[in-house]
């Protein structure tokens, strides 16, 4: 399996503060890679540097054999897309769903805009009646589906997921995660998933990197994590915390 993403010694600074201190990882083609950590551990910053939204980084990043520079080409943005955390903030408030979905197609000069949008809505299980609505007329889960459809419009190979379910209801979270898993199966996508929720990451990803203070402290498989075969104390602490949070519900039921 060839590596789709290769990150070596990535450093990101915000002024004096070093938010990411030399992070390295590899993601194979068609693999799901998870990044977990507490807020402030630098996991989202890694994703932003990878996506090209934050140009102030140093180190080596390679996607599909191409070295990345701070400025990305249009072709890069066709192949790499991102789904944002907050579905209430990631859709333009004055544009219809149709307009939001057509934008990537127009920028990349793709044909069959009409059919592609209809197909895109189908793929994320949104009704065609949603097409000419505004984002504020949709629920959080529906909005996140629109955001996912938008990310897939340009037929990317890599999708970066920045806490894609953390702003959603628990019941909707599972739906969106299953949708993401189905889409990956169908399209052979490569995912990098950032989350603070171990359960979400373990559900979707086989390999998980745990971040603390801007560094990856441990890379672990989902099975090892579930079984509690952790090596680093921080991983164990995070795992215990998520088990503790789930336990009271279990005992109450």
């Amino acid at each position: 399996m060839a590596d789709m993403i290769e990150v070596n010694d990535l450093i990101v600074r915000f002024g004096e503060v070093q938010a990411v201190k030399g992070v390295s990882f590899r993601v194979g083609t068609g693999e799901n890679f998870g990044l977990v950590g507490e807020s402030g551990s630098g996991k989202s910053t890694v994703l932003r540097a990878l996506s090209g939204l934050n140009p102030d980084w140093s180190g080596d990043m390679v996607i599909a054999g191409q070295g990345l520079t701070p400025h990305r080409s249009r072709d890069f943005y066709r192949r790499v897309q991102m789904v944002f955390q907050d579905p209430y903030g990631s859709l333009h408030p004055r544009q219809t769903i149709d307009r939001i979905l057509s934008e990537p197609l127009l920028v990349h000069g793709m044909r069959d805009v009409d059919q592609r949008i209809a197909r895109g809505l189908n793929e994320v299980a949104l009704p065609q009646t949603a097409r000419f609505r505004y984002p504020h007329q949709l629920s959080g889960g529906q909005r996140q589906r629109v955001a996912i459809a938008r990310a897939l419009m340009s037929e990317p190979e890599v999708v970066l997921l920045d806490e894609p379910t953390s702003a959603l209801d628990v019941s909707v979270q599972a739906e969106v995660l299953n949708l993401l898993a189905d889409l990956q199966q169908a399209r052979g996508l490569t995912y990098v998933l950032v989350s603070h929720n171990l359960a979400v990451v373990a559900h979707l990803c086989k390999r998980i990197a745990v971040m603390q203070g801007g560094q990856i402290v441990e890379t672990i498989t989902a099975e090892d994590l579930r079984a509690g075969r952790t090596k680093h104390p921080h991983t164990a602490a995070l795992r215990e915390l998520s088990v503790e949070l789930e336990e009271p519900e279990g005992t109450a039921a």
């Binding site: 939204l53 859709l91 408030p93 219809t96 990537p104 000419f132 609505r133």
Partner: protein
């Protein structure tokens, strides 16, 4: 015929599931209109503005006299059936001059707005979106213009050129754009770092496209509101320039000029300067009411 009536039906305009982009846009406009219509004062403003504009455009039909026909025998006549608003110091019909003057005054206002709003929007959005050195350069330029007292700069500018309507319009525009640039910049700064703009950047679109298609539409509504509220200020500046002899030149009827040329008669023949004054007052007030109503509908922060 059937097609037209379905398009104009209330159901079509209030549809929850629009069938095309244009349809969706019309639904949004109609909802805005319903909200605006609920505001009584704003409707008064809107109707007054429409009546004034229509009356100015239809001046040749509504005025019974030539606005520059002099009748020295009947000068400074009080309002009567023949002269509804009386006559001025040269015996010209004030009613006719108010109607024709509306063309000049309101025309100047429209010209200023058409010049000012695009410039302010462009400068503000570009400065706000790019930030850094572009922002600093454009905003210091804005500050320079903002530092001059409005009327004084306009006066100096008109005095340097030749007094007249064109110079007055350019002079007012020159002093009126900085607030729009600041407004558009502030608005751009609030949306620049949002996820939806980040998502647009992730399509690989060029900066020009992002600004024009995604940022400007968000700034336009607050600029429209500001423009409507500023209309009264522009009317007053135009009238002030006219009053000081730097705007429209006699015998062209312009409300400010009309007050200026008849100010000597304010005690004995009060209606001569008062009536154009009332016209200015009503126009300013109407635009202000309209602007307030528009803000309620358009301002995204009040949603």
């Amino acid at each position: 015929m059937t097609a037209l009536s379905t398009y104009l039906s209330r159901d079509w305009l209030l549809s929850e599931t629009p069938s095309s982009r244009t349809h969706a846009a019309w639904v949004r406009r109609y909802r805005g209109w319903l909200q605006f219509r609920g505001n009584g004062l704003a409707m008064v403003g809107l109707i007054t503005v429409i009546v004034m504009i229509v009356a100015s455009l239809a001046a040749p039909l509504l005025a019974f006299q030539d606005p520059s026909a002099q009748d020295l025998a009947g000068r400074l006549a009080p309002p009567s059936a023949a002269h509804w608003f009386g006559t001025d110091e040269l015996g010209r019909d004030i009613y006719a001059r108010i109607l024709y003057g509306g063309r000049v005054t309101l025309g100047m206002v429209v010209a200023v707005v058409l010049l000012v709003a695009p410039i302010g929007l462009a400068v503000g959005c570009i400065a706000g979106y790019f930030g850094g050195i572009v922002d600093r350069a454009l905003m210091r330029l804005t500050d320079v213009f903002l530092a001059f007292p409005r009327l004084v700069l306009a006066l100096a500018f008109v005095a340097a050129l030749k007094p007249g309507i064109t110079s007055a319009v350019i002079a007012i525009a020159l002093t009126a754009w900085p607030p729009y640039a600041r407004l558009a910049r502030a608005e751009t700064l609030t949306v620049r770092n949002t996820d939806y703009i980040a998502a647009v950047r992730m399509t690989g679109a060029r900066s020009g496209r992002i600004i024009l298609r995604h940022i400007v539409p968000l700034c336009v509504s607050s600029v429209i509101v500001r423009v409507t509220l500023d209309m009264s200020g522009i009317i007053l500046t135009a009238a002030a320039l006219g009053f000081l002899g730097m705007g429209a030149q006699p015998p062209l009827p312009e409300w400010g000029t009309m007050i200026a040329s008849s100010r000597a008669y304010i005690l004995e023949q009060w209606w001569v300067p008062t009536i154009p004054g009332i016209a200015i007052f009503i126009a300013s007030l109407a635009f202000n009411l309209l602007g307030d109503g528009m803000r309620d509908v358009l301002d995204p922060r009040q949603r």
